[in-house]
Symmetry: C2
Subunit: 319 residues, 2 copies
């Protein structure tokens, strides 16, 4: 006889909607994935979300405490609305929380996906025992979430935590947000690959050059990781530079907030311990002396299905 | 018959201790100033504080609700301790709150002076109606305080709000904290004057050159201000650059926290509207589009005796 509690987690992406039933320990007991059909317009996307939840709950005998949805774009918590997710065109403002709650008569919680990832780490992952931490999600962009006093800090409109748009160089690389020198313009996957390509010509003896130019392998963070693992000096230098950039941005946040724990998740986090140790060193080199000894940099613990687990954690966090 | 409430505000500086009796509207009804005697050691400084409060309360017939102390250095709120203020050598850790409370049998509140300035603006000044704001104090250094949900955000140890040590350039000017490109290394009074001196030789036709070199006037922010007022292009360019640097740092904080109100106080704030308008423009150029229309930059309202008023506001904030 199990006394576990269960929640539905919905990870709304631009291509797929991933859904799961998750227990209060963070274990996924059932999961499915369906197409978002973003190009067919927001009404169709909402239909897909409903269809997915129905499918997931079919033949389900567990008692579901709530539905958590992690959505891209600006989420207004009180109203449960999702505004203009960048990868679902024509969305506008949709009261997604209300719509789903009315359909299923189950309490529904909507949160920005970067914040949901932070809550996931707080409830199930590397932030379980932390009062405060800075969550960085390295992906195509650089996302973030601030957990202060075991709550998501949301700011005036719910947009807080945009670590990717902290500038580390007033006159630095152009970011697509319009600002210059944003952390995202150095540490986002696309930018990182661009930086490698810019320097590739000067490193014709590198493994990265051999694999990506001679052998025409796709130049992705994974390739940089593999080259570094094989001891390629150019790849190692790229990761070192990435760590210094992340460290510079994080040191500023740490000085500002006096929060000493950092959790890093997402694709580039696949660089693993090599990256984290260097990020920690870079932060410690820069941060105020009184804070330096407390600095900890950890890998996110929710790896596969971090999106589903993070979304479901919204239910357990509030219940 | 007045129903006003009163508090004692103590502004502990490296040279002078300024003390005042302040009513709950922020009006100073009596004030004195005595030497800190920092060079005679911490015990003597504590004696001076006691002496000052005694002197202030002599023949006082008002009902004092509490004593607020704004102190440099790290203040641990729960314990009321003040740690290693940079301008009072040999201090170590002193439970100043307890000592004063025991001596006078009046509830005593101790806070870092930059945070006390922020609370002063929240209770008496430009932040009266704001839920959230970023307080920047431009002086020898660049201090700061974060008011979030009408409370000082203090971080893990009370050190939060170090806006001066947010780096705007990973490889920028050396800051005395050890980091590079700190806002303080561009906007602190000493650094600002250094920057002017570095460029003075290229601007021999400027008023600033004439006044500071030919006429040997002391090169201080006030002189830059006066030259700008007189239309000096070099002085105007210096203020423009200062605004861009402040704007770059503040834009990062605003993107991170989704807090749209900035209050600027301290000496350089004497540059006035010219500076604030340019800081606002610089922030708006950089900040995320969704936040940009909300940005407001205001001058601190507590000018003279901001220290005494800020310290006294700690009493009214908590009562």
């Amino acid at each position: 006889m199990s006394e576990s509690k269960y929640a539905v987690g919905v990870d709304l992406g631009g291509t797929f909607i991933k859904l799961g039933i998750v227990d209060d320990k963070g274990k996924i007991v059932k999961k499915i994935s369906i197409d978002t059909l973003a190009q067919e317009g927001p009404e169709r996307v909402v239909k897909q979300i409903k269809k997915g939840i129905k499918e997931l709950l079919k033949e389900n005998k567990k008692n579901i405490e709530g539905i958590g949805i992690g959505a891209p774009g600006l989420v207004i918590l009180k109203k449960g609305t999702v505004e203009n997710p960048p990868n679902i065109p024509g969305w506008g403002v949709i009261p997604l929380g209300n719509i789903i709650q009315k359909e299923f008569h189950i309490p529904t919680f909507v949160e920005n996906d970067a914040n949901a990832a932070a809550v996931g780490e707080m409830i199930f992952g590397a932030g379980k025992k932390l009062e405060n931490f800075i969550m960085v999600t390295l992906g195509t962009g650089v996302g973030g979430g601030l957990i202060l006093n075991r709550k998501v800090f949301r700011g005036e409109t719910g947009a807080a935590g945009e670590i990717g748009h902290l500038s580390i160089n007033r006159a630095g690389r152009q970011c697509k947000c319009g600002n210059k020198g944003c952390l995202e313009a150095y540490a986002g996957n696309n930018h990182l690959v661009t930086i490698v390509k810019e320097q590739l010509g000067e490193h014709k003896d590198s493994l990265l050059y051999k694999w990506s130019v001679d052998e025409e392998q796709s130049l992705e963070p994974k390739l940089i990781h593999d080259a570094a693992e094989a001891g390629d000096q150019f790849a190692l230098a790229i990761i070192c530079e990435l760590a210094k950039n992340l460290g510079a941005g994080l040191a500023s946040i740490i000085n500002l907030l006096d929060v000493s724990n950092v959790i890093i998740g997402g694709g580039v986090a696949g660089f693993g311990e090599r990256l984290f140790e260097q990020v920690k060193n870079a932060i410690q080199e820069r941060v105020l002396k009184s804070i330096s000894p407390r600095i900890k940099v950890k890998a996110a613990r929710l790896k596969n299905e971090a999106g589903i687990k993070g979304a479901s954690s919204l239910v357990f966090h509030r219940s």
